[in-house]
């Protein structure tokens, strides 16, 4: 297990480097180049443009530009935000923290409700609950995240007024319960689609396991349904961990929409505002940081998968 863990951890190094190249190349997509983007109308002045290009290092070969950028990265320098006139790293720290709260809550909801719906549906296939839950999952899995967010916002915050409409804290408050009240709707909106996808997969995996001879053997020995299901669920864990890891990628991305809908001050809202302001250094750094967090998350998921499935070792 330890040998595998070390080997798997080492493989993330080239992936991380690859991600850094990809994110660096993203900036080459800027129409014109970064100097034109920064100068705006002043880019018409060839002297100013040349000076800005020299300042940004754009006159050097692209490979050298990448290495310089990577060197800054290693030293924690993620670039300078034009909109906030501050180093990006400082802006990001608080935003990443806020987003991680939302991501953790969404993943928790996805796993708990997804597994619950899947297991209950599989225990009585064809029942009223199973049919309603599976139809709901089919519809939910095809719904746009921002649209679900808008509906939740309208129903719970505008119509019923049980949850606050937006933000992370009520002005002047910083309590834990205030945070939870603000967290419920965005986390639910982000988790809705993964709940549907995980629920459907857990149901079908569970049904497959329940049809196996060893389950029949357990039943003939007179074990209660609950005990039988507990034995069966152990074998559903592996596909469940796989789908959770896949859905985590979706959650990491789609939280962007819920952050915009609910004005959650995380990295998604930061990217959205940075795109509007064409503050591209912020966009670049945010994509990089989220991707690196995602790589580490995938590593953890992989290790969990191997830990619970001895066949993988």
């Amino acid at each position: 297990m330890l040998a595998y863990a070390v080997k798997r951890t080492v493989t993330t190094v080239p992936i991380m480097l690859g991600v850094s190249v990809l994110v660096f190349l993203l900036m080459q997509l800027i129409p014109g180049n970064a100097a034109v983007a920064m100068l705006g109308p002043a880019a018409g002045n060839p002297h100013a443009l040349a000076q800005m290009e020299r300042y940004l290092g754009l006159n050097r070969p692209i490979a050298v530009q990448y290495l310089i950028w990577l060197g800054h990265l290693v030293h924690g320098n993620l670039g300078q935000s034009t909109e906030y006139s501050q180093p990006v790293a400082g802006i990001l720290a608080q935003r990443v923290h806020n987003s991680l709260i939302l991501l953790a809550a969404s993943l928790l909801l996805s796993i708990v409700f997804g597994v619950l719906i899947g297991v209950v549906s599989a225990s009585r296939p064809g029942s009223v609950f199973d049919r309603i839950a599976m139809s709901a999952c089919l519809v939910l899995a095809s719904a746009p995240t921002f649209w679900l967010g808008l509906l939740l916002l309208w129903f719970f915050a505008v119509h019923l007024r049980v949850f606050p409409e937006m933000g992370m804290y009520t002005l002047g408050q910083h309590g834990f319960f205030d945070l939870i009240r603000h967290l419920v709707l965005p986390a639910l909106a982000t988790a809705a689609i993964p709940i549907a996808v995980i629920g459907r997969l857990v149901r079908s995996s569970m049904l497959e396991v329940l049809s196996q001879p060893y389950v029949l053997a357990l039943r003939t020995r007179g074990l209660s349904t609950l005990r039988v299901h507990m034995h069966a669920f152990r074998n559903v864990l592996v596909p469940t961990v796989n789908i959770v890891a896949l859905q985590a990628g979706f959650v990491f991305g789609s939280a962007l929409y819920t952050e915009v809908v609910f004005n959650w001050p995380g990295v998604g809202l930061l990217i959205y505002n940075a795109l509007l302001a064409r503050d591209l250094a912020v966009v670049q750094a945010t994509v990089l940081v989220i991707s690196l967090v995602f790589v580490v998350f995938n590593l953890a998921a992989d290790l969990v998968r191997v830990a619970i499935d001895p066949r993988e070792r």
Binding site: V21, L150, L276, F294
Partner: protein, 303 residues
């Protein structure tokens, strides 16, 4: 069945006139299997209606999708406005009908382009493996390390708002996923007996790739692409919501749902209706994809 038996063309069974033997081409078998799947047929019919409505929009839409009236925020089933009107008094049904013209191509074109690129990359990587296959698949691993929505939004955002840039970005984020599906199929094909037989017969690798591998990965590709067209309708709506896609006042389902945000307090149906249309279209694509999966795979086809 031995090789010798295969070489003898089977004639009509004794006692039956030759004309009575039903010709069962693969296409006909597939079509028959598809027709038996009620959900797939329902999905296909619904998609047909949506597409015809979008194409015939100038003829069938009851109102202009752009010109408003002073009848603002009318609820559903109002006289003259089946789905009501939006905050500028524009007929929502008309905008839904016209919206298909913007939303459907935005979702379908990237899938088709990405499928073509992936067919090339995936079958090359899967069939040749070696350094070329390794190179292709390792580069794709990097794409998988970036959350898809985030990468898509970043690409479209940096390129600048507009439907073309959204389609470019959707194509780029789809290629890794489709390529992996084709890669898996092509790698299996490489070890199959019919490919080995072709090698023994002296076919060149290129010929095998073109004549054996590509036709055999196509069904899987068609199924995956169809199912994903639904997901791409949803994805494209997300771009519109962020203001990266088509710009107002163009009728577009995603943009309509996003615009409904401003009248959420007074008329939530303005945001809700386009979302329901998006879900219905996505589910329809899913049903059609599932139907195709069963129809195109002889092992799943119930004769």
């Amino acid at each position: 069945m031995g090789l010798g038996e295969q070489l003898i063309a089977p004639g009509p069974p004794a006692g039956e006139p030759a004309g009575a033997v039903e010709v069962r081409s693969t296409l006909r078998l597939a079509l028959r299997a598809f027709r038996r799947d009620r959900f797939a047929v329902a999905g296909a019919v619904f998609m047909g209606i949506v597409i015809v409505a979008a194409v015939a929009a100038p003829i069938i839409s009851p109102y202009s999708p752009l010109v408003g009236s002073n009848h603002l925020d009318a609820p559903m089933f109002s006289p003259g406005h089946l789905l009501g009107t939006d905050d500028q008094g524009r007929d929502i049904l008309s905008r839904i009908i016209w919206g298909g013209r913007s939303t459907l191509p935005t979702a379908v074109i990237p899938v088709i382009v990405a499928s073509a690129v992936s067919l090339l990359l995936g079958s090359l990587a899967g069939f040749y493996q070696g350094w070329l296959g390794n190179l292709i698949m390792r580069v794709l691993d990097v794409f998988f390390a970036v959350p898809m929505v985030l990468l898509g939004v970043a690409i479209a955002g940096i390129l600048g708002a507009g439907p073309l840039n959204v389609m470019i970005s959707m194509t780029v984020v789809m290629v890794p996923f489709i390529t992996r599906v084709i890669y898996t199929d092509a790698a299996l094909m490489r070890r199959s007996e019919f490919v080995q037989a072709a090698v023994v017969c002296g076919s060149s690798p290129f010929k095998i790739l073109l004549e054996q591998v590509v036709p055999n990965v196509l069904p899987g590709l068609i199924v995956y692409a169809t199912t994903n067209m639904g997901a791409m309708v949803v994805f494209a709506a997300g771009f519109s919501f962020l203001g990266l896609g088509v710009q107002p006042p163009t009728p577009d389902w995603g943009l309509m749902a996003a615009d409904g945000r401003s009248s959420l307090m007074v008329a939530p149906q303005i945001a809700a209706i386009p979302g329901v249309v998006i879900i219905l279209v996505a589910v329809a694509f899913n049903f059609v994809g599932d139907g195709l999966r069963d129809a195109l795979d002889p092992r799943r086809r119930t004769a």
